[in-house]
């Protein structure tokens, strides 16, 4: 491995992005419940308070709406707050400040002043988190003009996208999946940016396109690997930026393979996959409309229950993606059972024993 690249977890990569950004820009401050506690937001902010003076890392009262408004206020005088919520659901208390204020500020002041603010939202899953700790609510935020909405999937893109978000002049919402914090990947040690608003082809292929974001990119790559042994060459597109949506990159891939499954990380009704399919059809020629076959897959249309016996029906995985591929390609893959792993669906790996 090269000297300037190292293998780290996604949590460590977020931490690096934060530390480098704070070193580069004195105005960057960390805000959120537990940012300086012994667990440091699943390791992503661990001990950053020890590197910088106390005035840069702020634990906060349980007051999400005020926390957001206060951060907006601070950003107006040039501070660069990076807020974090350990669960997406806690940010719902601050939707007023996010949607009415931060998102519209620049517009409603006629371009006088923007709100440069980053809000990290962590999606929970597994170990019986239950209906209020396991929602993937990207679509709510992606619905709002004025927000940028980013979804992390690898240690590499986590660092580059977070750094770009911190440099951005607008409110940026970043989705992090709890199951990705421990995954490992190669990450350059340096300060680098990945432009917001760009999707990425993470695996090239010719037979079918899988379009996804967040944790579901991992499931897509797993199914691609298995499908290879059935001689199916899969292309995987990581959306990365839900708003602005890079429909061009997705479109190029689908036009090439003529078949696509949009693998939604959140509920499919009124969701990210709805938007992608609608945009594809709006942009297709009549001929493409009749040739291209597009399906989607995602969690069913119900709250996620606590009990593992029912939660297991709520998370499509690589096997479901493969079955959808069978349907789309009108094929039957033999002996798929042998690819079934024995990790329960409420654990990202065998070591994960909750409770959070």
């Amino acid at each position: 491995m090269l000297k300037n690249i190292k293998k780290i977890t996604l949590a460590e990569s977020i931490r690096e992005a934060l530390v480098l950004s704070m070193k580069k820009n004195d105005n960057v401050i960390l805000v959120g419940l537990g940012v300086d506690d012994p667990k440091g937001i699943f390791g992503t902010t661990k001990d950053i308070d020890k590197i910088f003076k106390k005035e840069r890392v702020f634990d906060f009262p349980t007051a999400e709406n005020a926390m957001t408004g206060i951060s907006i206020g601070a950003s107006l005088l040039g501070m660069k707050p990076v807020i974090v919520h350990q669960r997406v659901e806690f940010s719902l208390l601050s939707l007023e400040q996010i949607i009415n204020q931060a998102a519209k500020w620049f517009f409603m002041n006629g371009g006088t002043k923007s709100v440069p603010l980053v809000i990290r939202l962590i999606i929970g899953r597994g170990w019986g988190q239950g209906p209020q700790h396991s929602q993937s609510l990207e679509a709510i935020f992606a619905h709002i003009p004025g927000l940028k909405v980013i979804s992390l999937s690898t240690p590499y893109n986590a660092k580059g996208l977070l750094i770009s978000s911190i440099e951005d002049k607008n409110p940026v919402i970043i989705f992090e999946h709890r199951w990705l914090h421990e995954i490992q990947g190669e990450v350059p040690k340096k300060y680098y940016k990945i432009p917001l608003g760009k999707a990425k082809v993470v695996k090239k292929g010719t037979d079918i396109t899988l379009v996804s974001s967040s944790y579901m990119v991992i499931e897509c790559l797993r199914s691609a690997k298995i499908l290879k042994s059935y001689s199916i060459d899969v292309e995987v597109v990581d959306i990365q930026s839900l708003r602005p949506l890079d429909i061009q990159t997705i479109m190029n891939s689908v036009k090439k393979t003529k078949k696509a499954i949009i693998v939604d990380n959140g509920g499919i009704n009124f969701g990210i996959s709805s938007e992608i399919i609608a945009r594809l059809y709006e942009n297709f020629s009549n001929k493409e409309k009749s040739i291209c076959k597009i399906e989607r897959i995602g969690p069913p249309d119900n709250p996620i229950p606590s009990t593992r016996e029912l939660a297991k029906y709520c998370y499509p995985n690589y096997l479901d993606i493969i079955k959808k591929t069978e349907k789309l390609l009108k094929k039957k893959f033999k002996n798929l059972e042998k690819y079934k792993d024995n990790i329960p669906l409420d654990q990202p790996n065998k070591d994960f024993m909750g409770p959070f």
């Binding site: 537990g34 906060f60 709406n65 208390l93 239950g130 593992r308 016996e309 029912l310 409420d346 909750g354």
Partner: protein, 323 residues
């Protein structure tokens, strides 16, 4: 006022029962069959018992993530609670909710949710409906010190005062919100009970580890809340023994100083009350042992029930989205 022998024993037994249930959950958690986050109430039993012993069956409570003690003290079914923790269809929410969503309408346990502060207005609304329907019942809303930082706490106090609602706000101040000490979250000049006063709501600070104080004081207060239809807030300092969420002790993380831990560990509401009851001959060692055995038998059966219960059927995923 004096407390009768039978009530003293009852207060003790209720606390002991909750402690033993929580400890059994902790000891079995590693079996990985209760697969949901648990926020155990160990150390805070006196508040739940002292308040709930003064509530009638029809009185309602609402609580938050750390709800086991409240649910049990109010008479919630142990079997249904454990069924819920095991994710079984016999659970109080049929396994759909998990540990953070306990409910038992028969016992007046109306709501428990993990979003901090969210049941404070809901409890206030139940009290409002009681008043509108001219019912003589009251609501006790349990919440932590952290929850008093949420806007809904203030908004609910105002409404409860404005409409003279029969509700008892019960703030369990264990000085921590996860790993954060209260001094990192609230100004030292701030007082939870005085906040209530500024809304025109009477309040009282009570030692949260002294069962008799809690019982006697809330008895008077609840009579007042009922007869005068007025809100009241009590703030009880207490101590959480275990980690914020999960079955273990996390003292090694050092977010609470040894001095603090040692001080509070001397104030265990159950051990101290046991000393008191023995010293003044309300209970003998033998009787306490017998009590322990009986409670343990109940717990054993309830765990067996939960373990043997069936998981819910898939159809439940769609059955309860709309009423």
């Amino acid at each position: 006022m004096k407390i009768s022998k039978s009530i003293k024993i009852k207060l003790f037994r209720e606390m002991l029962r909750i402690r033993l249930i929580e400890q059994t959950i902790a000891s079995k958690y590693h079996e990985a069959e209760m697969r949901c986050p648990v926020h155990l109430s160990v150390g805070q039993e006196a508040i739940a018992v002292g308040v709930c012993q003064n509530l009638k069956k029809n009185d309602k409570i609402v609580t938050a993530h750390r709800s086991h003690a409240h649910y049990l003290a109010k008479g919630g079914s142990i079997k249904k609670m454990l069924g819920e923790l095991y994710g079984k269809v016999t659970g109080c929410a049929k396994g759909l909710g998990g540990s953070m969503h306990l409910i038992d309408l028969n016992a007046g346990v109306f709501a428990a949710v993990p979003i901090v502060g969210s049941t404070i207005p809901i409890g206030t609304g139940i009290a409002w409906a009681n008043k509108l329907k001219k019912k003589k019942e009251i609501v006790a809303a349990f919440f932590g010190d952290g929850a008093t930082e949420e806007g809904v706490f203030f908004e609910s106090l105002d409404f409860a005062s404005l409409h003279d609602l029969p509700i008892l706000f019960v703030c369990e101040n264990n000085e921590y919100s996860v790993y954060s000490h209260i001094s990192k979250r609230q100004s030292s000049k701030r007082s939870i009970s005085k906040i209530a006063n500024s809304f025109g709501i009477e309040s009282l600070q009570i030692d949260g580890n002294n069962i008799e104080d809690i019982f006697l004081e809330t008895k008077k207060i609840i009579d007042k809340v009922k007869s005068k239809s007025k809100p009241f807030l009590i703030e009880l300092k207490t101590f959480r023994y275990l980690e914020h969420c999960g079955p273990n002790n996390d003292d090694k993380l050092n977010y609470r100083t040894n001095k603090y831990l040692n001080l509070w560990k001397k104030k265990c509401p159950i051990i101290n009350y046991q000393h008191h009851l023995k010293k003044y001959n309300y209970l003998t060692t033998k009787e306490i042992e017998k009590m322990n055995m009986k409670i343990r038998a109940e717990i054993f059966h309830a765990f067996n029930f939960a373990k043997k219960s069936k998981f819910p059927e898939k159809i439940l995923l769609k059955k309860y989205i709309y009423a």
